[in-house]
Symmetry: C2
Amino acid sequence: MSDAGFPQRVEFYRARLQASLEQALPPATHHPARLHEAMRYACDGGKRLRALLVYAAGETLDLAPHRLDAAACAVELIHAYSLVHDDLPAMDDDDLRRGRATVHKAYDEATAILVGDALQTLAFAVLARDRDAGLDAAQRLAMVNTLAEASGSCGMVGGQAIDLQSEGRQLTLPELETLHIHKTGALIRTCLRLACAAAPALPDAQAAALDRYGKCIGLAFQIQDDVLDIEGSSADLGKTAGKDSASLKSTYPAVMGLPAAKQRAAELFDEARQVLDVFGARADALRWLANHIQGRNH
Amino acid sequence: MSDAGFPQRVEFYRARLQASLEQALPPATHHPARLHEAMRYACDGGKRLRALLVYAAGETLDLAPHRLDAAACAVELIHAYSLVHDDLPAMDDDDLRRGRATVHKAYDEATAILVGDALQTLAFAVLARDRDAGLDAAQRLAMVNTLAEASGSCGMVGGQAIDLQSEGRQLTLPELETLHIHKTGALIRTCLRLACAAAPALPDAQAAALDRYGKCIGLAFQIQDDVLDIEGSSADLGKTAGKDSASLKSTYPAVMGLPAAKQRAAELFDEARQVLDVFGARADALRWLANHIQGRNH
C-alpha cells in the first residue's frame, strides 16, 4: 500500500466504505421499505472523513484494509445517525444537509427518528457480526466498547445535550472546549482508537500518539467548522451558513475572536502532525489528512 | 437456586437488575446532568419482564445469575429507550407511561430524543465492557449481535415503522402478526437467545425449544396487550387505555374479534409451556413466567 501516496488511495477507501455500507444496509425494497430507503438516503454523500481516518491510522499501523472495513463502516453509521437526529425540528431544526433535504424533510419526522435509531443499532451489528476479517472476538468487542463510549451520554450524545442547553448564552472557553470535545471530538478520536483495537501488541507510546492526534484533529476540526460558518457560503458547506450566529450559539470566533480562533486551529493541526513523528513515514496518510482537513472550505 | 420457587426469586432478580442499571447509568449529577437525570427517569419502574425472562432462561440452562446481569440490563435499556422514542409527539404521542409523565413531557422533546439515543448506546456498552462475569469475548460478542439484530430495522425499530405506516387502515391477520413479531416479539425472543449465548455447548434442540418459547410468549404478550387495551383501565395499565381503537390502530380483537383473540393468546401460552417439556423441572421458572404473563391485568 506504500507505492502510491494516500491521496491516490482516498477513492479506493471511499469505495471500500461504500461497499461495506451497501452490504450492511438492508435493501431499499426490504420490508419496511420506507424505513430502509430512508436509511440509505441518510448514508449517502458526505466527505467520509471518519472512515478515512480509520484507514489512514490502519496504514500507520501496517494493518490490511479489510481488517478495518467494519470499523470504518460502523463509525460512519454512527455519524450518519447523529446528523439525522441533530437535524430534527426539536433539535437543531435544519432543512438542508449534504446539499439536500434532511431526512425529516425528505420523509417525515417519525421516519427520521427511526432511521437514526436503526443506523445506530446497525453500527454495533456491523462490528459484532461474524466475518472473516482476521479480527478475533476480543478485538471486535474492544471496538464495540470504544465506539459505545465515544457515542453515548459521556461522548457525542452528551455533547449534543450540552449544546442544546447552551443555546442563547455565551459560553466560556473551557465550557466551549468541553462541549466540542464531546460533540464532535469523541467520535473523531475514536476513529484512531478503533484502528488501535485491531493492532495486536501495539506499544503504549504509539497508541498514545494516535490518541493525541485524534484529540487535536477533533478539536481543530470543530474550531474550523465555526470559522467556516462565518467565512463560508451555504453552497460550499452544503448546509445553512451563518446559522450559528443567527441562533446565538457559542462559537470559537465569538468567544476568542476570529484571528485567535484561526490561530488556535492552526496550533492544533501543528500539534497533530508533530505527535506523528514517532511513526516516521508510516504516518504520511495521517499527515496528509491533517493537511487536507486544515485546507478544506466545507 | 432451586430450593425456593421462582416467584420467591423475582424480587432478587429485580434487585440485581436495579443494581446493574445503577452501575451502568452515569450518576444523575454527572455532566450533562439534565440528560443523565432524564436517562435514570426513563429507566425507573416497569415490570422488568424482559430481565426476568433472561434470568428464568438462565435457571433453565443452569447458568449462575451473574453471567446474565449484563444481558438482563442491556435488554431493559433497549426496552426503555424504545418506550421513550415511541412516546414522542412525532410517534405515538403519549403523555403517560408507567403511571407518570413520559420523558418528553417531564423534560422536553430534544432531551427525550437524546435519552433514547444514549440508552441504546449504553445497552451495547454494558455488553462490551470488560467485567469478570465468566463470559468470554466470543459469548459477549454473540450477545451484542443478537441484541442488535432484534433491535434494528429488521426487528423492533422495523416493527415501529410498520406500525406507523399502518395507522388508519385495517391490517390483515398476517400483516398484524408480522408487525408484532417485529415490534414486541423480537426483543422478547432475544431475551431467551441472550441466555443461550451464555451457555457453552448448548444442544441445538434446547436452543430451538427456548427460541420457540420466546416467539410464542412474544406474540401472546402482544395479543394480550391488545385485549387489555379494551378490557383494562388506564389506572391498571399505567398508560392511556382505549388508545388503540381511538387512533384506529389495527389490533387482534379488531381483526379476529375479542373471543378469538383471547383464544389465540391462550393457545400460544399453552404452546410456550409445552415446548419446555424437554427441560423437565429445570424450566419451572419459565413456566411460572408464562402463567404470570397470562394472568396479568396490566
